[in-house]
Amino acid sequence: MITAFLLRSLDRKIIVAIAVLLALAVFVPASNLLLPEDSPLHVPTYLVALFGKYLTYALLALALDLVWGYCGILSLGHGAFFALGGYAMGMYLMRQIGPRGVYGDAILPDFMVFLNWKELPWFWYGFDQFWFAALMVVVVPGLLAFVFGWFAFRSRVNGVYLSIITQAMTYALLLAFFRNDMGFGGNNGLTDFKDILGFNIQAGGTRAALFAASAIMLALSLLVASGIVRSKFGKVLVGIRDAESRVRFLGFRVEHMKLFTFVVSAMMAGIAGALYVPQVGIINPGEFAPANSIEVVIWTAVGGRATLIGPIIGAVLVNGGKTIFTGLFPEFWLFALGALFVAVTLFLPKGIVGTISGYIASRREYRKAASAKPVPIDAEPQAAE
C-alpha cells in the first residue's frame, strides 16, 4: 500500500525536483568541505548556512501550499507552527549548553539565572533528550493545529474569517512569547547554542550536515505532499477548495479531511522550524510576527499556488532576492520587494511555475491542434474560481 502511495506520488516534475534536492544535499556539503577554498566550485560556509535557511523556508512554503493550494485554507498563521517547532528545537539546544553558560549553571539557561528563576519550569523537562525534543517538534505544532482546526472547521469558519483568526492566533502567541514570565527567554528568545547531538554547532561539518538534513527533509516532505495530493483523498481536497458545500453534500466528512491536512501541514512547518533554528543560531518571538506569515503566503504565490514545486522556488527566489538586495541597495530594496509582489499578482497570477506550466501546456495544445486542424484557436478562457 505504501509503495502504491509512493508510486502514485511520483510524476516527472516531482522526480526531477527530488533528484535536484538530493543532488544538492550531496554536492553542496561535499564542495564546501572537500574542495579547496580557491576552487571555482567551492561553496563558502556562509552560503551553506544561507541556502540551508532557504531550504527550511521552502519547506515552510510547501507546508502552506498543501493547505492553501489544495485545501483552500489560507493560513496567515503558519509562522506560528514554524516558530513552535523552532522553539522545541531551541529548548533542546539550550539544555545542551549545560554548565557552559555564562553563569555556569548546569540546569538553568542563562536568561533564567539572571531573572532569578530558582528551578526549571515543568515544560522544560525532557528537552535535554533529543528524541523528546524531536517528538515535540511535530507534536506541539500538530496539537495546536488540531485543537485550533477542530474548533474552527467544525464551526465552519472559512474564507477571510479563518485567515484573520489564524492571524489572531499567531499574534497572540507573539505577545505571549514576548512575555519574560512565560519562561521562553522573552524578546531575546533562545540563543548562544553550543552543540547538537554532541557536535559543535559552529563546525563546518555540522553546518554541512544540517544543510543535507534540510534538503533531504524537504525532498521527503515533497514526496509526502505529492502523495497526499495525488491520492483520491487529494482529489477530494481540491473539491473542498473549489466547492466545499458540494463536497459536503456528497457525503464526505469535510471537517475531518481539512483537519487532517491542516495538522500534517503544521507538522511540516514545525520540522522546518526545527531545522531552521540550529542553522541561524537563534529563535525568538519575532518569528511569530504576522508579517512573517504573510511573507510565506507571498513566497507561495510568487512560486505558484497548488504546484508543490512552485512554493519551493518562490521561497528560494524571494529570499535570495532579499539577501542580494539588502546588501546591494540597502535603502531601496523594499521598493524592489514591494514591486515584485505587485508585479507577480498582476502579471503572473498563477505564479512562476504555474505560468510556465500553463505556457508549455498551451504550446503543446496549440501544436496538437495545429497538427490536427489547421485553424488556430484562441487560448482557452480560464474557468472562474
Binding site: V16, F178, G186, Q202, V316, E331
Partner: protein
Amino acid sequence: MKLKSYVSGALLGAIMSTTAFHGAFAADDTIKVGILHSLSGTMAISETTLKDAMLMLIEEQNKKGGVLGKKLEAVVVDPASDWPLFAEKARELIEKDKVSAVFGCWTSVSRKSVLPVFEELDNILFYPVQYEGEESQRNVFYTGAAPNQQAIPAVDYLAENEGVERWVLAGTDYVYPRTTNKILEAYLISKGVKPEDIMINYTPFGHSDWQTIVSDIKKFGSSGKKTAVVSTINGDANVPFYKELGNQGIKAEDIPVVAFSVGEEELAGIDTKPLVGHLAAWNYFQSVDNDANAEFIKTWQAYTKNDKRVTNDPMEAHYIGFNMWIKAIEKAGTTDPDKVIDAMVGVSVPNLSGGYSSMLPNHHITKPVLIGEIQDDGQFDIVYETPGLVVGDEWSDYLPDSKDLISDWRMPMNCGNFNVAVGKCGGKGS
C-alpha cells in the same frame, strides 16, 4: 517539463554567483568597515541615524588620510530589524566582504543573535547602545552604558536632590528593562526603600494606550510620599506615554520621570512643552558645552545638510568606539581583528562630554554620567554630572548570580566570566 528544473537550477546558480561576485570587487588597498544597522523595519527609526553617523566618521577619518596609509571603506547592509537576518548579514560582512570590524546593532536581541558569528569568525563588533550588562565577550566592545553607568546614578540623583521615596519602575517587557529593574529593585531595597514603595510595570513593545497605566501611576503617587517614575520604556512607546502624562496633568514637579531610552532623537518627535523638567540619564547630551562637541555637532549638521539634526548618546558611543579602533589599529600596526582586540584594552580617547574615555579589560568603557532635564526646545539641560568617570560594570553587584563574576580579557586571565568565589573561568563551575 524539464524546463522547470532547469529554471530552478539556473536560479539557484544565479543567486550563488551574484552573491559570490558581489564581494569579488573588493579592492585590497582599503580597510573595510562593516555597518550593521537596520535601515528598514521597526528599528530603522533609531538605527538609521547611527549608520549616517558612522559614514560621517569614516569620511572624516579619510579626510585625515585614513589609517595605516589606507583609506577606509564603509560596507553598509540592511538587516531590516529582523534578528536572524542580523546574524546572516554579520556573516556576510565578515566572510564575503572581509571587513576589519563591524559597528552595529541596537537591540539586545540583535546583539545576542550576532554574538556566535563574531566569536566563530573572530571579528570585532562595536556595540553603541546602553544595555542590561550581564555579558562580556572577547569580540565585542561595549561603548554604551552598563546599568551602573546610567540607572544607578539617576536613582541616586532623584533620591538625594528630589527626595524621592516611592518608585515606579515602568518598562517595556524585554530583557533590558527586566534586568535594569531587577538591579534597581535590589539597589533600592539595599538603600532602605520598602518593597511596597516600589511598583513595577511592564508593557508590550509599541504600546500606545497609556491611559490606565498613567492613571495607576497617578494613584500610586498620591500616597503622600514623593514619587518618581524610572522609565525603561522602549523608543516607540515613549511618545504616546509622554503625551498621556502631559494630558493627564502629571508635571515633572509632581512626579518626575527619569528615562534611560529617551534622547534628543526621540524628543525630536514630540512637542516637549508639557514635558519640561522630566529627566533622562545618559553619558552625553547634545547640550554639553565644549569645543569638541560643538565641532562634532557642526560636522554632523553639515554632513546631513540639516541644521536641525540632533546628536545623541549612541552616536557619541560610536564616535568613541571608532576613534578607539583607529587608535588600536595604529598601536597594533595591523587591522587583523585578533591583534586589534588585544591592542584595544587601555586605549584612551577624548569623549564629547569634555574628558577621556578608556577601554577597560572587560571591554566596557569609562564614562561620565549626566542627568538632564527636558527643555521646551527638545534639548536637555544638564542638572547633574558625576564628579568623575564611572567604570562600566558588566556583571552587576546587585544580582545574586552575577556578583561573583568579573571579566578581564587580558592575558593570562582572558575570561569573560571569571568567578572570584570559586576562582575559575566559566561562572559557578560544577
